[in-house]
């Protein structure tokens, strides 16, 4: 396999397979990751091929999953732990923020924490409560963690490779509603750096910055805007910690207008950090304040309301209009 068209879920599966194959220290662990292959089949077939000792069905306890992953990392393993859904990461929150994130610093660098935490996140799949959340900001505030989210199959494949190779803990947010979106994956391409943003579409009138599931929405918005004669640039941020402010700044200085889009609630969300920092960096360049489009300050609503809650084409274009109105 060199170039293949794969759904994102399958691209991650192939990436995990490659990691298991290449490095005997790589482990997969989580609830139902074994025979079932995970509730989204992202780990499908891996236990069969690599055995129960490398692809580990864990007890139903997220703190236990991350806590033992830390111990395994201390022993020299490189665990890739799955949290079944976004809303179930919180029992592990303590282990992640007080232990995993800080271990390297506490040991003055003498130990490393190559742990990847995979979290299928975000809404749009008509799920019940706790299955559609976007908690990335709750991790990005915490030093010691790296946070990434791919939006394409190719990135899903390569960013997972890079996350596993990283000696830092990486939270890998998988845009679950895009799992079945297909894209080309070249397993021999040499990837760029993990924490760089990507210009997903060039434009000149305004910059849309997004990551994970919202990149597609922004690309659609840019296409729609084009018909109205507006040229929107779309950035796929790819990494929330660190944020690639160089790329964002360059684009914002070029277009002079920035709209940030994410599913997570706006209040204290990624858009806040981006808006604050970009405004500081490009104060004299911006023609309009950075506008944020995201979830509301309310619990993720029942599925029948999620289309109203989630930023869609129209809400993005509304924000574009508002920005251009300045």
């Amino acid at each position: 396999m060199t170039v293949q068209k794969l759904p994102i879920a399958k691209a991650i599966n192939e990436s995990l397979r490659k990691a298991l194959d290449t490095d005997p220290k790589v482990l997969i662990m989580g609830e139902d990751v074994g025979k079932l292959g995970g509730v989204f089949r992202v780990t499908d077939g891996l236990q069969k091929d690599f055995g129960e000792d490398r692809v580990i069905d864990t007890p139903l306890a997220e703190s236990g999953i991350i806590g033992t992953a830390i111990g395994l990392a201390l022993r020299g393993y490189r665990p890739v732990a799955e949290i079944q859904f976004d809303g179930f990461v919180f029992p592990a929150y303590d282990q992640i923020v007080t232990q995993l994130a800080k271990m390297h610093a506490r040991a003055l660098g003498k130990i490393k924490m190559p742990v990847v935490i995979r979290i299928p996140y975000g809404g749009g799949i008509g799920a019940v409560e706790h299955h559609s959340e976007s908690p990335e900001a709750l991790f990005a505030h915490v030093a010691g963690l790296k946070i990434v989210s791919p939006s394409t199959a190719s990135d899903a494949y390569w960013m997972m490779q890079q996350a596993i190779q990283s000696d830092d803990p990486v939270i890998f947010f998988e845009p679950k509603r895009r799992y079945w979106d297909k894209g080309e994956v070249n397993t021999e391409a040499i990837p760029g750096p993990l924490h760089r943003a990507r210009v997903a579409r060039e434009g000149s009138d305004l910059t849309l910055a997004a990551y994970g599931p919202m990149v597609k929405v922004c690309l659609e918005a840019a296409a729609a805007a084009e018909e109205e004669g507006r040229s929107l640039e779309v950035l796929d941020l790819r990494s929330m910690s660190p944020l690639d402010f160089e790329t964002i700044q360059a684009s914002a200085e070029k277009t002079r207008r920035l709209v940030v889009v994410h599913e997570a609630p706006v209040f204290f969300g990624s858009g806040a950090e981006i808006a604050a920092r970009v405004t500081e960096r490009c104060f004299y360049h911006l023609e309009a304040p950075v506008i944020r489009v995201g979830g509301y300050h309310s619990p993720y609503p029942p599925a029948r309301l999620e289309d109203e809650y989630l930023p869609g084409l129209d809400r993005v274009l509304d924000a574009v209009d508002r920005s251009l109105a300045y």
């Binding site: 139902d32 236990g64 019940v128 029942p302």
Partner: protein
């Protein structure tokens, strides 16, 4: 200690890397002395030295009716999911005895903290079954008033509710009331730290709570031995309160054992763990595909222990129910199915503005601001466009 000594015979290094993959422990038989059983799979009464129960024929028929209607409701919900009326359904198929037996042991003033699968318990509490469907349809997150039937909202985050139950029970004790509280959870949930903490808190405060664990052998695709290497009911002992395993497919045993545990709580003797040994006959939820991970034979073996069939045999054997009874119940079942179908199909989508309701009891300026912006945004479509988002906005009128 049998499990341990088995382990002792497997030296770690020899089995090397394969050692983590324990074999399935043998299934306890119904005749297992650990398992309280009052009704055999054949519908015969079984004596038990500690637990006895003497239901009237009416009560027996009542329990039967509860189980049949619960199963009928459950089947209807599964069908509604297939028809696209529900987004998801978590079937209780096979667990009717555990739920009806324990549910019927409760007094009105007792309080229930369910998981997402306690449809039978909800039935016993008098919760309208159609109320349970809102969250599975995606129109709310439960939304019923827990206090109208002393039946808390379904809890999806595994294990959390055991602490709520414990806190509630601490409150009951503070009030000097003699109500009891029951917390439902699964075999998988037993691994969650919250469940352990609820054992600690309830023991230390001697809270009047019954922990009712339906060990249905599976947590999605993981068999119980991925959660424990000894029977789950034994967990309680180490926290200083009794644990007992009951045949979860035997409605009489579930009733008797739960009743006794509730009485113990009322008497101020603190918590009890009841492990109802049962089986999840269906998929984990309608999204699940059990053929990926479990053998048909296992399910078949459990079919012979069916909780409803068992009580029917008993009713027939003891002459407490005739054809007319069963026929009437069939009709009642169909009527229930029909009503559920109709109610669900008529269930409206919520008003989009509901996104901003009840986020806070006392209000929050940001929610007010976002509500106003959203309303203005929605309104902006109605005038200019009658397709797409606008129709959603109009649907909300």
């Amino acid at each position: 200690m049998t499990v341990e000594s088995t382990a002792a015979r497997k030296p770690r290094r020899s089995s090397g890397t394969k050692r983590a993959s324990a074999k399935r422990t043998p299934q306890p038989q119904s005749s297992d002395p650990q398992l309280v059983q009052l009704l055999s799979p054949e519908g015969e009464r079984v004596e038990h030295p500690e637990y006895r129960i003497d239901p009237t024929p009416d009560e027996l028929r009542g329990l039967y009716r509860d189980m049949v209607l619960t199963r009928r409701f459950d089947a209807e919900a599964t069908a509604l999911q297939r028809q696209g009326e529900l987004g998801l359904w978590a079937s209780l198929l096979g667990q009717e005895a555990a739920q009806i037996g324990s549910g019927r042991a409760l007094r009105d003033d007792d309080y229930v903290f369910p998981t997402y699968r306690e449809h039978g318990v909800a039935w016993c509490r008098g919760v309208d079954p159609t109320n349970l469907l809102g969250m599975f349809r995606g129109v709310n997150h439960g939304g019923w008033d827990p206090n109208s039937n002393n039946f808390h909202l379904y809890t999806i985050v595994i294990g959390s509710q055991t602490l709520h139950a414990t806190g509630y029970a601490m409150g009951v004790a503070k009030d000097g009331a003699d109500s009891a509280v029951i917390a439902y959870f699964g075999d998988g949930a037993s691994s969650q730290g919250d469940v352990a903490e609820s054992f600690t808190f309830s023991a230390v405060y001697n809270a009047p709570v019954v922990f009712f664990c339906q060990n249905n052998q599976w947590a999605i695709s993981e068999p119980t031995e991925k959660q424990t290497r000894v029977p789950l009911y034994q967990r309680a002992q180490g926290y200083g309160f009794p644990g007992i395993r009951v045949d979860g497919n035997d409605v009489l045993a579930c009733l008797a054992v739960t009743r006794s545990a509730l009485e113990r709580a009322r008497r101020g003797e603190g918590p009890t763990l009841v492990e109802a040994f049962t089986y999840r006959m269906g998929a984990h939820t309608t999204s699940d595909d059990p053929t990926k991970y479990r053998a048909d034979e296992e399910r078949e073996a459990w079919e012979a222990k069916d909780p409803i069939l068992r009580l029917r045999r008993c009713l027939e054997r003891e002459g407490h129910a005739d054809e007319a009874f069963f026929a009437a119940l069939d009709e009642e079942s169909e009527a229930l199915g029909k009503r559920v179908r109709e109610v669900v199909r008529a269930m409206p989508d919520p008003d989009p503005m509901a996104i901003f309701d009840h986020v806070y009891a006392d209000g929050h300026t940001l929610v007010d601001e976002e509500r106003a912006q959203f309303a203005a945004y929605q309104a902006s479509f109605v005038d200019t466009d009658t397709t797409g988002t606008a129709s959603a906005a109009e649907g909300s009128k």
